[in-house]
Point group: C2
Chain length 405, copies 2
């Protein structure tokens, strides 16, 4: 294979000025270079978690195919070095696939997670690491209503790349997957996007603001309390976090034919402003005790915000950093009137929740929501994964190093 | 259903200043407002064809479910009005789904096409329009190597929305699909993207520049010769064009393990610069007659550029305006060494070719390419459609009006 004759994607541009002389805008997209800057790769926490989300993501999980512990450690070393390079707009491999040549880093972040299968598979301690499995890295229980597809569930390792360009995000994971050949193979993957808005909470495909009550990633106390693992678990996870990923299909056809007033009652917020029902502004506190003239709760007993609120879950909180997904159409048998069959949107939410401990985070909150949330009639969980995301590392180290010490 | 209390997506922002007071960047994506301007909807040609491509697309085809000609005409009227509004950043329906609230038009273009099935279905003249079917709107032949999936092929009508924001593009088609309820239903759909680059030809997922020898959309002679229909067909199509859409999966794993020198021989261009083999710069003319010291052609007999070139197709040209697509993974049985089975990328190219007559455009060129192109060992056509895209219209008219006159 050819080796890479360029030191960086941007740098390579200078070298081919002759070849570009005749170029015209006729052949180019006219999207301007947007926020194309660089996010740091090294640090106490992995990037792409507290980092404000860029507009695109590509998330992938892997099955480990080696039975040698050193192969896994070497893969994590290789991935770390490659990810550090990619995040600076440099190629990762001598055989870089090339589709991000000449492109800016586009705020690329890349982070890694470790699934339960690295520790234990079919009851077997695969790599002599079972004793180091964090108690918080439980196998997710089966939730009421789960419709998980095996081809979109699980994984021994995961990578999430986020960037302000869909091609840059996919390019990153593609290089890392190629670098894993003979050690790990892709299991499932999902691309996602967010709308380009500034100074406001993004809307998901249901048309509602999503994340209004999220912990503030710029508030160290919030992040330490809710997200970053501390002394309660193994030392190799201190400063890391636990990711629960869920691929949630939304019945958009059904939702779009539902009156907005019912949508609002279901969510427990107004659609346009995003205020809790009974409130006026998006960040007003929800008043769960308020009742109307008939003594009925203003925010319904099974409204999404009520069931999700920390106040109603013994203080349990998670940090959500989801993306919408859009995979075209597939054949669906509707479970609502007029009970049609046909091609419907395969679109929804790549839900990504980070927390210090899933047992007191996502699992605690979602076990009740899965049973009672009014929103459940519009959403179906079709994919799932749980991963321990180790802390960040400094140059010369690698992600997950503590586990292999 | 609630009616829409805002006159435009941007306008609505002013009205909810109170609700936004507490907003912080913590909850927002940090992608800046990119090229968020407005493209004209009305004009002699439909938008989104000669228009420089924004970064995202959502393409969808529909089956007509009514048997009344007036229903189809009314749908095209409704779609035209809604599309004109959407392209200006205004909601399309009283029941707008809301996810583009507060967002800029993002250069949204929306165009429409009419498939063979509107004229003839199972040999039947469905709507009394068969006599108006353009001779150029043929049923596509079966090409060598076709692996078309019925669920990704055909359609009586099509819509393509393009925008600099994935959410805005999908939002547009979603409103139009909702406006078609009881008249037409979605058949297949595909989202796509392009990298954000300026002043250079975009690279597709094979890492090569794609479109270097495309007709120049700013050159009226090129466009009139290659793209826009003239007097040779029915009057209702004058100033329109014909779209051939192909969903082309690329075996990226196989491609990535192929030496760059072989990739370049396959394409017939250098990877980094994009010059024809034997040339120096991207827009150098390919020298198909050149031979090496052994008398072998410098550009291989079955190289992609040789088989695609107008010079080798009796002057036949098409205008390509494709997008990459990325639908995660699915199970694949490899047809190349080491003959693995497993999850592989379902990613590739949503190929979109416009031409004055597909018989002398795509069909003429591709019949030979399908048999001989070296690139065929890396690509599989899994979806397909052909559509007559009527000319544009003025305010008060509607797309396809001439057909119903």
């Amino acid at each position: 294979m050819s080796t890479c004759p360029y030191a960086s994607r941007r740098g390579f541009l200078g070298g081919i000025a002759a070849g570009m002389a005749a170029v015209g805008t006729a052949h180019a997209t006219t999207a301007p270079a947007e926020d194309a800057g660089t996010e740091p790769f090294y640090g106490p926490h992995q990037g792409g978690i507290a980092t404000p989300p860029p507009a695109h993501t590509y998330f992938a999980t892997f099955d480990i195919t080696t039975d040698k512990r050193d192969d896994v450690r070497d893969l994590l070393k290789r991935w770390t070095q490659a990810a550090a390079n990619l995040s600076q707009g440099k190629p990762a491999l001598p055989t870089d696939s090339g589709e991000a040549l000449g492109m800016a880093p586009s705020r690329l972040t890349i982070n890694f997670g470790i699934g339960p299968g690295l520790f234990t598979q079919d009851g077997k301690d695969r790599f002599g690491l079972a004793a180091h499995r964090p108690a918080a890295l439980v196998d997710l229980p089966v939730f009421v209503g789960d419709q998980l597809q095996p081809a979109r569930t699980g994984g021994d390792l995961c990578i999430q790349a986020c960037a302000n360009d869909a091609q840059v995000a996919f390019h990153a994971v593609r290089q890392l997957a190629a670098a894993a050949y003979d050690t790990a193979k892709l299991r499932w993957a999902q691309s996602g996007f967010l709308p380009h808005v500034t100074g406001q909470t993004v809307r998901n495909l249901m048309g509602f603001r999503d994340g209004s009550s999220n912990p503030d990633p710029k508030n160290p106390h919030d992040m330490q309390t809710v997200v970053w693992a501390g002394d309660e678990g193994p030392a190799w996870m201190r400063g890391g976090t636990y990711l629960v990923a869920r691929r949630i299909r939304i019945a958009l056809e059904h939702w779009d034919r539902t009156p907005v007033a019912f949508q609002e009652a279901t969510v427990g917020r107004s659609k346009i402003v995003g205020a809790p029902i009974g409130g006026h502004a998006e960040f007003d506190a929800a008043n769960f005790a308020a009742t109307d003239a008939d003594g009925n709760p203003v925010i319904a007993e099974n409204a999404h915000v009520r069931l999700a609120a920390a106040a109603n879950n013994g203080g349990a909180r998670i940090f959500r950093r989801g993306y919408s997904y859009n995979d075209g159409l597939n054949f669906t048998t509707e479970r609502w009137p007029p009970w049609r069959q046909g091609m419907e949107y395969d679109a929804g939410l790549l839900f990504m929740a980070y927390q210090r401990d899933p047992r007191t985070g996502f699992i605690k909150i979602f076990e009740r929501m899965a049973k009672f949330d009014m929103l459940n009639q519009f959403v179906t969980h079709t994919g799932s994964g749980i991963f321990a995301c180790p802390p960040g590392c400094e140059q010369g180290g690698f992600i997950g190093q503590g586990l292999f010490a």
